[in-house]
């Protein structure tokens, strides 16, 4: 094409390449007008179209006996028995949270909640996976405070408990924090609503907040890197109103109890354009709307602005013709706008009117299914082999085991997150039966005997060193956490946070990680039911650690059998499941004590991992174990400490066999702080120990009794020689106050 109706700068501002523009012309059979260009620009953005990731995402397992809804809808759904479904998804709000931490995080929470109740599910739990730069950085401290306050501000008000999550700190997130929010809701299986339009002539309703100029091109912003023009992007962040969303939630759930609703979709990224084109294309129909009928809170808005606005707390609802009064009455009760703005048509087109004038007319499929798909070049970065070696000459003088132990307990990634989670209402709705802190969160499902365990995990360091292995480990850890609570892992969701996909090294990380995630999800029988991709997580050309976060949902048949992470009593036997291989690659020990991010991440035998998880679920159901705690960052020693903390000062004494290797550093350090996968510390009544060890042997899970609970000290010996001997309360004070102490440091 020789001449285009728009200048190259206009296309660039819209994030469209000349080739993409030509494709638009081809699909329309004519040049688009500016409104249409804007609509294509948001729908074909990376955020909405998944154009770089789609070819890889297709390789993930998405089906299973329990899967009721896989990817492609507002959220995934799995069968949890009793005719009920768990509806869940995780989504990122990284870019907005960096620009405006409070509102960015708050609207992230609001967005994922809408995805869940749009499906007809009552949201009952939120979890967050957060990544920040070092707390020594003043700007990071401000971001942490803002993000935590924003998550609390939204979740607490709307009355959905934030029951768990995880937080890690690393230099790479300094200029690009990650805010990933997971939400889970419960729906009756036969009442799940989909984001589909059908039935030409059915009215299309707009409900909720009015439309303003906020968030225009939010989706395009989320698909670009940050640079020094950051401040200019602030108007693209939206402002959240949890009270409005609470009204919307209650009204929508009340509406869904009637059968007057055909389909529903929230207006999130790409706003009205996305909601209309996606519902239309999923249902194979057309939609016609008149922007003049859209409730507006500013004057003089153009069709372009109305179609692209990302104002929060708005929904699109397709209603059965003849049931309009019923619908309007429900929204009126909740003092909400419910305005008919158009109707379903048979022609497959998204037709936008401004009163009598047609201002855009695009085939729905052109905006959705026909969006570009790229198989971007992939190139393994140079130096990966060297990165996986731990350089002996790069090590600092070895600290004593006890010094290292105490230093690790104060490392922000390991230290207690109480300063954070006490700002979240984690109990509202009175379902939370394993209180937040570490590992999985457990909520009961009222009206049944069941409970659901949930965990979100993803260690970017492992993924950086070996993307395939790191992603496998992320799935394994999330599923293991769920199994430690007694839950059988049944479904997964993912949030894939990476750098710029146009760089072959980043795309290599992405492709490898997806391959690893697929392997682990298949082996552990946890299909991916949905999720989100967040690319371009870079500031001034430096990418974050590749961070695929995995959320796993597990089912407990008997809520009363949920296991705690902490030791419940003294005089119990402590049993270690799994083999201590002494792997220090990518470990917290290496980073905190030696300042190194090097080495090979832990190996993972997926068959053995699955056997371990099934063993845990069985032992929990049989009541043979009293507590279970996964060994993760900081290894066995830190996991043991975590079993003693929050107990009121209950101690433990263990004697460990030396690890299978010195991890390239030191045998005692490798034994205590190595991060080998597939390991869990459980506590057992002495009378049951033989049965537990026998069950482990039958399952092919290595198991050994390593000590007992009791006293007020944490004592760790290696082959009879004591290497750590500390007062529990003293260690706990260091662990529990570390984050608050740093955050409350005045800004220099």
């Amino acid at each position: 094409m020789s001449t285009r109706a728009f200048a190259p700068e206009v296309l660039e501002q819209h994030g469209l390449t000349p080739e993409e523009y030509d494709r638009i012309v081809e699909l329309l059979g004519r040049e688009p007008n500016l409104t249409e260009l804007g609509m294509f620009s948001v729908m074909w953005s990376e955020h909405c179209s998944y154009k770089s990731s789609r070819v890889h995402l297709k390789t993930l397992p998405t089906k299973g006996a329990r899967v009721l809804q896989g990817p492609g809808e507002n959220a995934g759904a799995v069968d949890i028995g009793d005719g009920l479904a768990a509806v869940f998804k995780i989504e990122s709000h990284n870019h907005p949270s960096f620009i405006e931490p409070y509102q960015g995080a708050a609207t992230g929470v609001g967005g994922i909640i809408r995805d869940i109740f749009t499906m007809g599910a009552r949201p009952i739990a939120l979890l967050d996976s957060l990544r920040f730069g070092p707390l020594t950085d003043a700007r990071t401290r401000r971001i942490v405070k803002g993000v935590v306050a924003g998550i609390g501000g939204y979740g607490n008000s709307i009355g959905i408990p934030t029951v768990g999550g995880e937080v890690m700190f690393d230099e790479s997130y300094r200029g690009n924090p990650l805010v990933n929010v997971f939400c889970l809701g419960i729906a009756k299986q036969n009442e799940i609503i989909r984001g589909q339009a059908s039935g030409p002539g059915n009215p299309v309703y707009y409900v909720g907040a009015k439309t303003g100029r906020d968030g225009i091109h939010g989706a395009t912003m989320a698909s670009a890197e940050f640079d020094d023009r950051l401040e200019e992007k602030r108007p693209a962040v939206q402002v959240g109103d949890p009270f409005m969303e609470k009204l919307l939630l209650e009204a929508c759930l009340e509406l869904m109890k009637t059968d007057a609703c055909v389909g529903m979709q929230d207006m999130g990224a790409a706003g009205l354009t996305c909601a209309t084109s996606e519902t239309g294309s999923r249902g194979g129909v057309g939609i016609e709307v008149d922007v003049r009928l859209v409730p507006q809170r500013e004057t003089g808005m153009t069709p372009y602005e109305i179609m692209l606005s990302e104002s929060q707390e708005r929904m699109l609802i397709i209603v059965k013709r003849g049931r309009e009064a019923e619908v309007e009455q429900i929204f009126e009760k909740w003092d909400l706008h419910a305005v008919k703005i158009g109707e379903v048509t048979a022609d497959g087109l998204l037709r936008v009117r401004d009163g009598g004038t047609v201002v855009a007319e695009i085939p729905n499929l052109a905006l959705t299914d026909e969006a570009p798909v790229y198989r971007r070049p992939i190139q393994e970065p140079e130096g990966m082999a060297a990165l996986r070696q731990i350089p002996r000459n790069g090590l600092k003088p070895l600290p004593s085991a006890e010094e290292a132990f105490l230093a690790l307990l104060e490392a922000p990634t390991i230290a207690s997150k109480r300063w954070i989670y006490r700002q979240y209402d984690h109990m509202v709705r009175t379902n939370t039966i394993v209180l937040t802190g570490l590992g999985a969160a457990v909520v009961r499902v009222k009206g049944t005997n069941r409970a659901l365990a949930m965990s979100v995990d993803g260690n970017g360091r492992y993924v950086y060193l070996d993307p395939r292995q790191g992603a496998r480990l992320a799935v394994a850890e999330a599923a293991r956490n769920v199994a430690c609570a007694g839950g059988l892992p049944i479904g997964a969701t993912n949030c894939l946070n990476f750098g710029n996909p146009e760089r072959p090294e980043i795309m290599w990380q992405f492709a490898e990680a997806i391959a690893g995630m697929g392997e682990a999800c298949r082996a552990l029988d946890t299909p991916i039911t949905g999720g989100n991709v967040s690319l371009y997580n870079e500031t001034d050309g430096t990418a974050i650690l590749p961070t695929p976060v995995v959320g796993i949902v597990g089912l407990l048949e008997d809520a009363s059998k949920a296991l705690a992470r902490v030791f419940p009593a003294e005089g119990l036997d402590i049993v270690l499941f799994g083999a201590n291989l002494g792997e220090l690659g990518g470990s917290e020990y290496l980073l905190t004590l030696h300042g190194l991010l090097r080495g090979q991440p832990p190996v993972l035998d997926l068959e053995r991992e699955r056997a371990l998880q099934q063993l845990l679920v069985r032992l929990a159901a049989d009541g043979l174990i009293r507590s279970a705690q996964d060994c993760a960052e900081g290894g066995l020693a830190v996991a043991l400490a975590e079993c003693c903390f929050d107990t009121g000062g209950l101690g433990a004494a263990v004697d460990l066999a030396p690890a299978a290797s010195d991890g390239g550093v030191d045998l005692v350090a490798a034994t205590l702080f190595g991060e080998s996968a597939s390991r869990v510390i459980v506590s057992v009544e002495p009378a049951a120990t033989a049965a537990v060890l026998e069950a482990a042997a039958r399952a092919g899970v290595p198991a050994a009794r390593i000590g007992t609970t009791g006293g007020d000290r944490i004592r760790i010996a290696v082959e009879g020689t004591t290497v750590v001997d500390v007062d529990v309360r003293q260690a706990e004070r260091a662990w529990s106050s570390a984050i608050g102490r740093q955050l409350d440091t005045p800004v220099a």
Binding site: K246, L247, D425, V428
Partner: protein, 237 residues
């Protein structure tokens, strides 16, 4: 025995109070929408926690204008037992049914955690089953629970033994270390002159089942059942 749980549009602990009364204790409970002008045949009224109208202005500031609040005031004036929990307490303050006001927590952060709540007085319908001085383990979840009242009001409350709950350590000590939000005199809950209207920031409805970590909250609900069974109270009928 029927409990009315008042529902404002932003109430979010309404289901929890309902669940505790109906499913744990086995009494009748029903929701009363804030636009209703009557409490029906209620024997007890609960104003639950939440963010009644978004509370962007001041917690509970708009809720007091809801039609149902006239009915609540009449019910209280007739001696009927009214329990305001968290936002419900804030609404009772705004409506003038209890004295004082709430400020933001001392550290201007939201707090959600189990705290010790010492029972100061047992001659209210909601504490009759408790032993004086007993420390209940009940969670709080609020950003504005820093109780304030002018000195003369505070003095009156103390003199008339109307401070019903105070934040305390597990062994019953009342002091700054046990005060989560900066409340004057560690006040967690108070009552009106008639002693039939009680407001508290902690959430007893979240402490009614062993699975939730504490059952101490049951005492408040059981107390009012006792009181009504004994026929010692008036009400809206």
């Amino acid at each position: 025995m029927t409990f009315a749980v008042v529902v404002f549009p932003g109430s979010n602990c309404d289901h929890d109070s309902y669940h505790a009364v109906r499913h744990v204790l086995g009494h009748d409970a029903r929701f009363v929408w804030h636009k209703e002008a009557s409490l029906g045949n209620a024997d007890v009224v609960i104003l639950p926690g939440g963010f009644s109208h978004g509370d962007y202005l001041r917690t509970g500031a708009i809720a007091r204008f809801s039609p149902v609040m006239k009915a609540v005031a009449d019910f209280a004036a007739a001696g009927g037992p009214v329990l305001g929990i968290c936002n419900g307490f804030q609404i009772l303050l705004e409506a003038g049914l209890l004295p004082g006001a709430m400020l933001r927590n001392r550290d201007v952060r939201f707090h959600c955690e189990h705290v010790g709540v010492r029972v100061e007085q047992t001659d209210t319908p909601f504490t009759a089953r408790c032993r004086q001085g007993r420390v209940l383990n009940i969670p709080i979840a609020h950003g504005e629970g820093n109780y304030y009242a002018p000195p003369e009001v505070l003095e009156t409350l103390e003199r008339e033994r109307r401070v019903i709950f105070r934040y305390a350590t597990a062994d019953g000590r009342v002091g700054p270390e046990a005060n989560p939000n900066g409340s004057l005199n560690n006040i967690a809950g108070i009552c009106n002159e008639g002693r039939n209207v009680v407001g508290l920031m902690p959430h007893p409805e979240r402490a009614c089942e062993p699975m939730l970590g504490s059952t101490d909250g049951l005492l408040l609900f059981e107390s009012v059942v006792d009181a009504l069974t004994a026929g010692a109270l008036g009400g809206g009928r």
